[in-house]
């Protein structure tokens, strides 16, 4: 199948004709996928090949070792045929496993193009009655092999992806914010952090990161929040007298995180903002804390960081990440 103008049906798929609501209900997701997915989405690109002057017995070994049922036959990079288990069986019947591949290979070259839809490949399978078809690119170069098994796997993967997207969409924060009408809707997560509780150190941060992902936050944003909040959480554990409160407030346009504690407070804030400055004890340093990088890491991960502190009273650290306005729209172009 060399290059030619695609038909309207192929270009527009099912969207090309008028579909009533009643019809639309009857189209299964698999049917849709057969038009959406392309051959190169599901084909096997990393394939084994044979040459025409190889012996049938050699190809039998390739098939057996790799547990496949056929290979394309290449000569000087050009595809000249295809050899399947059936061809090998024919050779075996005549006791000719030492014959060259060229004698038994199938020369009728039915191919599909990488940009063809799956529905096209399925038709080619039906028409040709072959179990495996070579895939070529625009320049007629062999780029892969497709089997019916590849198509089934492709469907399953796509359905799984659909399912995941649906699950994320269902919990997406933007929905929460769209469904509940108020002048200002925020979601607040609050964690009580105990001083010197290294055993549970980082638990709140990992819960926050997971919550953000479930709410449909961009993974990069969730990662930045996770790192910032981890450093803040560990500061409460390492440095405070009685621990403190870690709070995350989510709004459609921004995420605000804060920690508050009741002491001891920081005498000189400019000092703690210097890389490498740390007051951590020797014991804590042995565990790998006290690099004097905590607040610097936080600053790097958030859009705005504020720190207020009074010695003897406590410290309040506020961190803010702005979200792009468009973040709330569902993009579905995959």
């Amino acid at each position: 199948m060399t290059s030619r103008t695609p038909t309207e049906q192929e270009i527009y798929g099912r969207r090309g004709r008028l579909i009533t609501d009643h019809d639309a209900n009857k189209i299964s997701r698999i049917e849709e996928l057969a038009y959406e997915l392309k051959v190169h989405d599901v084909m096997t690109a990393d394939m084994h090949t044979a040459s025409p002057d190889m012996l049938m017995s050699e190809v039998l070994d390739i098939l057996r070792i790799n547990r496949i049922s056929g290979v394309p036959v290449l000569q000087d990079g050009q595809m000249v045929g295809i050899l399947s288990l059936e061809d090998i069986v024919r050779a075996m019947q005549k006791n000719e496993l030492s014959a060259p591949v060229s004698q038994y290979m199938t020369r009728s070259l039915i191919t599909v193009a990488g940009y063809d839809t799956i529905i096209k490949a399925l038709q080619a399978f039906t028409d040709s009655r072959l179990g495996r078809l070579p895939v070529i690119d625009e320049n007629n170069k062999l780029v892969g092999v497709i089997t019916k098994g590849d198509i089934t796997r492709g469907f399953l993967t796509a359905l799984q992806r659909d399912y995941k997207e649906e699950e994320v969409r269902r919990y997406r924060a933007s929905h929460l914010f769209e469904d509940i009408i108020s002048d200002r809707t925020t979601l607040v997560l609050r964690y009580n952090i105990k001083a010197h509780d290294f055993i549970r150190g980082g638990n709140a941060s990992s819960h926050i990161k997971r919550a953000l992902l479930r709410l449909g936050a961009d993974p990069q944003v969730a990662r930045r929040c996770g790192i910032a909040v981890y450093e803040a959480e560990m500061n409460l554990i390492i440095h405070t007298k009685h621990g403190g409160i870690l709070k995350l407030e989510m709004e459609p346009h921004r995420i605000t995180m804060s920690t508050t504690d009741d002491g001891p407070g920081i005498p000189d804030i400019s000092q703690v903002l210097q890389a490498g400055y740390s007051t951590a004890s020797e014991q804590v340093r042995e565990m790998g804390f006290g690099a004097g990088m905590g607040l610097i890491n936080i600053k790097r991960c958030v859009d705005k960081m504020d720190i207020e502190s009074t010695v003897g009273k406590g410290t309040k650290l506020t961190m803010r990440i702005n979200l792009p306005i468009e973040n709330s729209n569902t993009h579905k172009d995959k």
Binding site: F198, S206, R223, G288, F289, I296
Partner: protein, 114 residues
């Protein structure tokens, strides 16, 4: 280069539950025993090479989604650390070799920074 090949080539001991290591392909590596430096320097799907073996390395690794932690010089994590790593899906590997040797070998194998 898959984690399976790395484990075999460096003769690492797997401390956590076995997984499909052949399907894990580390994107690079980072070495430090200071957790905040790791937070800043290690990227997702990196190998983290460290002497630290206490519970808090698991939280850091989980937040960063590192491919695996290689604990050097036979530093032994306690059972609670290994249990938490299993729970969070973090792979813990161990070796008697020094961090320096492991880094050198990984670099030779083509595991470099991106």
């Amino acid at each position: 280069m898959s984690l399976q090949q790395i484990i075999e080539h460096l003769e690492l001991t797997v401390l956590t539950e076995p997984r499909d290591f052949a399907s894990v392909h580390p994107a690079g590596g980072y070495t430090s025993d200071l957790l905040s430096c790791v937070m800043a320097g290690a990227k997702g799907n990196y190998l983290w090479i460290t002497l630290q073996a206490h519970l808090n390395i698991v939280a850091v690794a989980a937040l960063l989604e590192v491919a695996a932690i290689i604990i050097t010089e036979n530093a032994q994590p306690d059972p609670a650390t290994i249990a938490k790593a299993n729970e969070q899906g973090i792979i813990l590997l161990s070796t008697p070799k020094t961090t320096y040797e492991i880094d050198g070998k990984l670099w030779e194998m083509g595991i470099r920074t991106q």
